[in-house]
Amino acid sequence: MTYKTFTVDVDNDGIALVTIDLPGKSMNVWNGDLIAEFETFVDDFTSNDEMKGAVITSGKDSGFLAGADLTMLGSGSAGGGEGSAFDQAFTLNRVLRKMETGGYTAKQIAKEGKAAKPVACALGGLALGGGLELALACHYRVCADNPKIQLGLPEVQVGLLPGAGGTQRLPRLIGLQNAAMIAMMGKPVNPATALAQGFVHDVVPADDVVTKAKDWVKANKTATAPWDKPGFKFPGGGGAMDPRAAQFFVGANAMAQKQTYHNYNAVQAIMSCLYEGSIVPFDTAIRIETKYFMKLMADPQSKNMIRTLFINKQAAEKGAARPEGVPKLEIKTVGVLGAGLMGSGITHVTAKGGMNVIVLDRSEEEAAKAVAYSQKIVDKGVQRGKMSQEKADAFMARITPTTDYNDLKDVDLIIEAVFENPDVKKDVIQKTEAVISKDVIFASNTSTLPISGLAKNSERPDQFIGLHFFSPVEKMPLIEIIPGEKTGDRALAAAFDYNAKIRKTPIVVKDVRGFFTNRVFPPYMNEAMLMVTEGVKPALIENAAKDLGMPIGPLALLDETTLKLGYDVLQSTKQELGDAYVDNGTEDFMDLMVNKLGRSGRRFGKGFYDYDDKGERQLLWKGMADHYPLSNDQPSVEEVKERLLYIQLIATAQCYDEQVVSDPQSADLGAIFGWGFAPYTGGPMSYIDTIGMDNFVRNTDSLAQRYGKRFTPPGSFRKMADNGETLYKAA
């Protein structure tokens, strides 16, 4: 029999080598074709006497199999079988179980001594999600000894669970605790750990994986999964009656709630699969797993997470918004102007992306700061065994500090990150353009100055573009790409080509004050401050934000970014807008905190919180109540959450309305990766679509009535509600 998605070669010993190799794909994934063909193969394998056993491997260098095709899941066409929705969702579980049991029932295996033909898995590369689940359904697993190979169940990261037996086979092999770490946290392990934990049987050089797997199949006439053998016991205890398992569940339930604030439905579902599945026989357990999987699939949460965190993120990173037809820019060397905090961070990620960096500053001392910045990070990597000394040395060799503009003459790209002062910027733009080649793109990293204005200093404004990095650059995943009025396609394409090397999530935003993320972030912070002035308990504000899924409370965040920065931005905005400036209600409060009390943020030793000598956050400053007495009538946490959520939704909606971001995808990515908007929602635009546009408009109108017109939705959104439109049209 021949298949499209894999080849089957039966050797003289009757061992079938199944090599999965999806045509036209760089990586193997479970899609409809593979599932259907694999089912046919399993049926043939179990009934065809010419095959005595099988080895399953991959024909891709990229790895074994990377899980399910999430675009397939998104379209709701998972599973290939006929029958009820359950039967369809159960397809892969059923097929893998048949391979594992040889088609015999658990009773036939236990009572009548029936057994399956042996199947081994030869893992030459990564096995994630459904890929690892396929491996786990084999009777024996050999893995290549490359420590970079990832073996894991990352489904939780897109709001799903491993739905092909992963929540059942893994705990039965390595115990509940280890399995929970892999399935609940979505953290993969390397082959050595997998071997030590016991879900890989052998780790051998990559060239030997198939041979070793065949050796095992040859040595075993039949095979039975451990859980089908009489007297099987969970390693480390399982089930509701085992005190060790009970203790594990009590602790894991609490940790899961602590980390998710009840926001991530997949985490609880995975815990339930582990709990309920550990009480019942295997065949019942995988049915339960499929039912929880179906529950998650029907939940808009997984749809939103898959769309934003997987599909749209990948598309953005692959350069979906890059202009077509512009040849790819080969970037070998980047000139970074300025070795301050941002310049140093940009230098670091650029070197990390394999490019050479010439980092320029006014003095040798200043320029050396960028070198020291990277050295510190690289040394830590070496210390922790994450980087060899050799690689560390090569990394540092790519960074050259200088004070001489002439050193920039051969660079392929300029990224400017000097002080946010128009005159300083003007000076470096002109000095740089005097030495670089005429076709080199000039990117400016600014968070406050409009790109079109800066481009006026350039002789080649079509080659001038904004690249907004976030601090700390090496940790923050987002980058805003800002074309100015005259920016040409070549500059825009270059920004994407550069980003492809440093691998951040890019969004293209309009050249307006604050761009996108800094348009939304201040209103959110203001709302928190307004509540403080209204006498809402600061702890309630902080806890409500965390409850909402924000990674940190807004007051703690204000302390981090410093109130001083907010105050300075406010002053410059005031100055710039003059009479057109409209009070936002936090002016007196900021003045009190920054000027009168000196509580300007963590860097200043005090802010909303008190800090110890080491700068560690202590408790909220009790003295706030002396200035803004606590209200006797505290709002409910739901009300506080609603205000904190909607102020972000409205500000994002306004940006979309004004085309600051031109599509909902960019808005959602920017929100989650820019300022930490609750990832489980899929982003503000996904959230609005999920609750429905008419509900959004109704809720904002109600908020506007209660708290002021800052909550009024943009007219275009009201119109969309009237027309029954959604933001993600095809959704």
């Binding site: 339930n253 709630q257 604030y261 609880q268 709990y275 409850d547």
Partner: protein, 403 residues
């Protein structure tokens, strides 16, 4: 409706709930057997008058399983006709079992019933029965499960009780328990526990530490800080439920929480006719009974609501109650109850409580019912309200009145 009266109430002394505790060698069924035999024999009742026995037991597995009450009834040589039921309402079990006994009288189902409870915590450790609540993710998530110690610390935080407040309460409990023992206030109801050769193995509450003072308690570390703040981090769940709080103040430890002990208790309850038949005088009547549910994460604030309900059902107000008895599960539980109902410390737990003498889970409710009855007679008081805080957010209360 028929009235239910208490004719007698007895208890074993409480032994330390550890392998070196005096009652560790005594089986739980034997503890139950001895109180059942004694309450029958010391009142010269023919066992066949006793129609049913309801005993609380919170970990009804292993040697406390299989309806330990019926097992003990048979073992105590009651006639075959006496039935037995085991009741579990966590810490309120002993009182709930007595209330069930009273309800059987009031409803006309029976004339003479024994309520009570038994728990050998040294032999069947707390939590031996497992349970879905904290382990099944569905219920653990839904209820924001935290252990009781976290709930007690949450009460202290929310209602403003400092470490000094709870320690001072504990010192007073020890002092009162000592006075009560010194003056023989429990004498009438304590029945020494005997071993297989008939020797007394324990005749007093073994756990008491009358020398306890603020300084000795001050040396103890908070018991629930680690599980609250570090692994697995239960405080976060408490704060998710009570987001107006910034941080849990961990004030409870072994010295200001109820002790783990072994023990059993029995209360003889019947109607007027039964009293005449067995020739006994009623000592008190049940005025009202109530059980309620309350928010499960803070868990231990139920007594306030159970007491209010019991008062309402009795047509009484709190000024009608002469003595209050609230199980000392944790010091903050009692302090919150006093705060909520504005009760003077002098009127509650007058002879100490579980912080000094221990809390044999299934038996405690029946023990403190008897303790209060003795105190009413000693101090010539008319009315008392007995209540306990209960796991998963419940409260049970009973109001009794001397006849």
């Amino acid at each position: 409706m028929t009235e239910a009266f208490i004719y007698d109430a007895i208890r074993t002394p409480r032994g330390k709930g550890r392998t070196d505790g005096a009652l560790h060698e005594i089986t739980p069924v034997q503890l139950a057997t001895q109180v059942l035999a004694t309450i029958r024999d010391r009142n010269n009742i023919d066992g066949k008058e006793i129609e049913d026995v309801a005993f609380g037991c919170v970990s009804p597995v292993g040697e406390q399983g299989a309806v330990i009450t019926r097992t003990a009834v048979v073992n105590a040589d009651y006639p075959d006709t006496t039935a037995g039921i085991q009741v579990n309402r966590f810490c309120g079990s002993g009182l709930e079992a007595s209330n069930i006994a009273a309800a059987k009288i009031m409803s006309g189902e029976a004339d003479l019933v024994i309520g009570g409870g038994v728990e050998s915590m040294s032999r069947v450790p707390m939590g031996s029965d497992g349970g879905a609540w904290p382990t099944d993710p569905e219920t653990a998530f839904k209820s924001y499960f935290v252990p009781q110690g976290i709930s007690a610390d949450l009460i202290a935080t929310k209602y403003g009780f400092s470490r000094d407040d709870v320690d001072a309460y504990a010192v007073e409990s020890q002092k009162r328990a000592k006075t009560a023992w010194d003056e023989g206030r429990f004498k009438k109801s304590i029945i020494p526990v005997r071993d297989v050769i008939g020797e007394v193995v324990l005749d007093h509450d073994e756990l008491m530490r009358p020398q306890t003072d603020m300084q000795s308690l001050g040396a103890l570390s908070p018991a629930f800080q680690g599980m609250g703040e570090m692994m697995p981090g239960f405080d976060s769940l408490a704060l998710q439920r009570y987001p107006e709080l910034e941080k849990i103040n961990h004030v409870h430890h072994a010295g200001n929480s109820s002790g783990i002990v072994d023990g059993a208790a029995a209360v003889l309850i019947g109607n007027t006719e039964a009293g005449k038949r067995i020739d006994m005088k009623p000592r008190a009547r049940f005025r009202s009974m109530a059980s309620i549910g309350s928010e499960p994460t803070i868990m231990l604030t139920g007594p306030e609501f159970a007491a209010e309900k019991a008062l309402k059902r009795a047509g009484m107000t709190k000024s009608d109650i002469d003595i209050w008895e609230l199980n000392e599960a944790f010091a903050a539980v009692v302090l919150r109850f006093m705060q909520a109902l504005d009760i003077d410390h002098g009127d509650i737990n007058v002879n100490g409580g579980a912080i000094a003498m221990g809390h044999p889970l299934g038996a405690t409710g029946a023990m403190i019912l008897g303790t209060v009855l003795d105190e009413m007679e000693r101090a010539d008081k008319e009315t008392a309200l007995i209540t306990l805080c209960i796991g998963a957010g419940m409260g049970t209360a009973t109001i009794i009145e001397r006849v």
